[in-house]
């Protein structure tokens, strides 16, 4: 039986079938080194992973494990201070030193801290209009209103400043800013770690709904195993710049990781257990 999902005459892929089995993010042997010589720091070591269209992939690890650096390497935000090697193919493009405008249109990022990532002297309207203007889109005002609506804010928020709205509302504005140019890949860097749990639930629900409605692909970086388990289908656990283990969420949920580091992380995520803590090992050695 021929293995064929596309139309045999014109190669078009029928609507609804194109979502699976297509890698939109491929990272091969990614290495990132900051600085040179004796003072250099090897932040990411031989990291490889792939993400299918419409899937969510999680990167979990403790601070300094290199998870955010992987995200910034994909987005092209590391600048000249970092030496990046390895192959990345994202959104049908082989990534080189600079990112093209079409790439930036298709790949957007949401940052951790809604207090730091919005310009304090720009109104919500200015914040949301800017990416649309950069990408030379039309009907900017309509797009702003629509983007706000999508994240559950009404048009009355347009002329407020970031300090006039709550942390959860700010993170909604950050999500709206990423989505206004209609990307298909969104890189999420700890999107809810600065928020209260009740607000976190609202933002996570919002992200899940937007993913369904717009068939988005997510790469989610978080230190919180439960958040990653909720959002993602597969995840990699990172430590000291390297991937310790890649597994499905089912494996994680059934408490069945293979690596001792992952097991310890899972135990620690379950709460305070005096006896278990004495059995903790140091994994710091490089």
């Amino acid at each position: 039986m021929p293995d064929r999902t596309s139309c045999r005459f014109c190669n078009a892929i029928p609507v609804g079938l194109e979502i699976s089995d297509t890698l939109v993010i491929e990272v091969q042997d990614l290495n990132v080194v900051f600085g040179r010589g004796a003072r250099s720091f090897h932040a990411v070591r031989d990291v490889s992973f792939g993400v299918d269209r419409g899937q969510s992939f999680g990167l979990v690890g403790e601070s300094g494990s290199g998870k955010t650096t992987v995200l910034r390497a994909i987005a092209g935000l590391l600048g000249n201070v970092a030496h990046v090697t390895g192959a990345m193919k994202v959104a049908d493009e082989e990534l080189k030193q600079n990112r093209s405008r079409p790439f930036r249109r298709r790949v957007q990022m949401v940052f951790q801290d809604p207090y730091g990532s919005l310009h304090p002297r720009h109104t919500v309207d200015a914040i949301l209009s800017e990416p649309a203007r950069v990408h030379q889109l039309d009907r900017i005002k309509d797009r702003v209103v629509k983007a706000l609506e999508e994240v559950g804010l009404d048009a009355s928020f347009r002329f407020r400043y970031p300090h006039q709205i709550s942390g959860g509302q700010r993170q909604r504005v950050s999500v709206a800013r990423a989505l206004i140019i209609e990307p298909d890949i969104v890189l999420l860097d700890e999107p809810t770690s600065a928020l209260d749990v009740s607000v976190q639930a609202e933002v996570l629900n919002l992200l899940m709904r937007l993913k369904r409605e717009h068939r988005l692909t997510y790469v989610l970086v978080s230190h919180n195993l439960a958040v990653v388990a909720h959002m993602c289908e597969t995840l990699s656990v990172m430590q000291n710049g390297a991937v310790v283990e890649t597994m499905t969420v089912e494996q994680l949920r059934s408490h069945n990781p293979t690596q001792p580091y992952t097991k310890q992380l899972l135990t620690a995520s379950l709460g305070y257990d005096r006896a278990a803590i004495d059995a903790f090992e140091e994994f710091d050695s490089k």
Partner: protein
């Protein structure tokens, strides 16, 4: 557990006069503390930190009133500034969230811990030094002699917080108020730091007020829990019973946490009832 409460708080209010009106940060909080680990949980703005600070008279610009605010028979509201200075750091001490901001950046770690000891005792410099090294060992810092001479920016977050604990424990206080003491740390380091704190307070019979936004952590670490919302105590229960809490606010907070053991399509969102405030 609270046969002889060390601390009695009855109907505590903290208010701030702002240009837009009076803010009631703490609105009628009552509890007692014995030799136990009492958790105060709530979202940001619920008044949990303000409650801790009001006990030590650290609410700058705010007005504190209470029917009763008593520590070992001393009325904290009407105590002289001199008495309060003896209590602060000596009898009741406070561990704050981020060691990066709460340690003095221009003093060596040894000098800071020693200072905490000397102020509250008549010890000589040599005795203080010996006690400091001993204390650093007790919080499981390797090479205490070396760390003694370092500055706060030279140590990691987990180590900084262990140093804070050493500093707060050295005058042997009766009560420790820990305000989000491990929220800036990674999970495994967080638990290791808490284990050290736990062992020390258990050995010495210190009372602990543990202020945190992390319900699971408080439920597993503390003996008893106060759940706060909008400056009020919504519910008080034993930590082990937190999962079966009655109050809809507590239930709502617990339900909106993503779970590790089972998947959900959508997280239940907390519905706030105006009658809680």
């Amino acid at each position: 557990m609270t046969e002889h409460p060390m601390l009695i708080v009855e109907d505590l209010h903290v208010t701030y006069d702002t240009p837009t009106g009076v803010v009631r940060a703490v609105n009628g909080v009552s509890f007692e503390l014995g030799r136990e680990k009492l958790g105060i949980v709530g979202e940001s703005g619920s008044g949990k930190s303000q409650t801790g600070r009001a006990i030590l008279g650290l609410t700058a610009g705010g007005t504190v009133t209470a029917h009763r605010l008593e520590f070992e028979g001393i009325d904290l509201l009407n105590a002289s500034e001199r008495t309060m200075r003896e209590i602060r750091g000596g009898r009741i001490s406070m561990i704050l969230q981020d060691p990066k901001y709460s340690l003095n950046p221009v003093m060596t770690i040894g000098a800071q811990i020693e200072e905490a000891f000397i102020i509250h005792s008549k010890a000589t410099k040599q005795e203080a030094r010996a006690r400091t090294i001993e204390m650093l060992k007790a919080v499981r810092i390797r090479e205490p002699e070396r760390v003694y001479k370092t500055y706060p920016h030279e140590v990691s977050g987990g180590m900084g917080q262990r140093i804070m604990i050493a500093m707060m424990m050295i005058p042997e206080p009766a009560i420790i108020i820990a305000d989000e003491p491990t929220s800036a740390l990674d999970v495994t380091v967080q638990l290791q730091v808490l284990a050290i704190l736990d062992d020390m307070i258990t050995r010495r019979g210190t009372g602990l007020i543990f202020i945190s936004h992390d319900l699971n952590l408080v439920a597993s670490f503390c003996n008893r829990v106060l759940v706060m919302y909008a400056g009020k105590v919504m519910e008080q229960c034993s930590a082990a019973e937190l999962a079966n809490a009655n109050h809809p606010y507590t239930q709502g907070l617990l339900n909106c946490l993503p779970r590790l053991d089972a998947g959900q399509d959508e997280l239940p969102v907390l519905q706030r009832d105006p009658s809680w405030a």
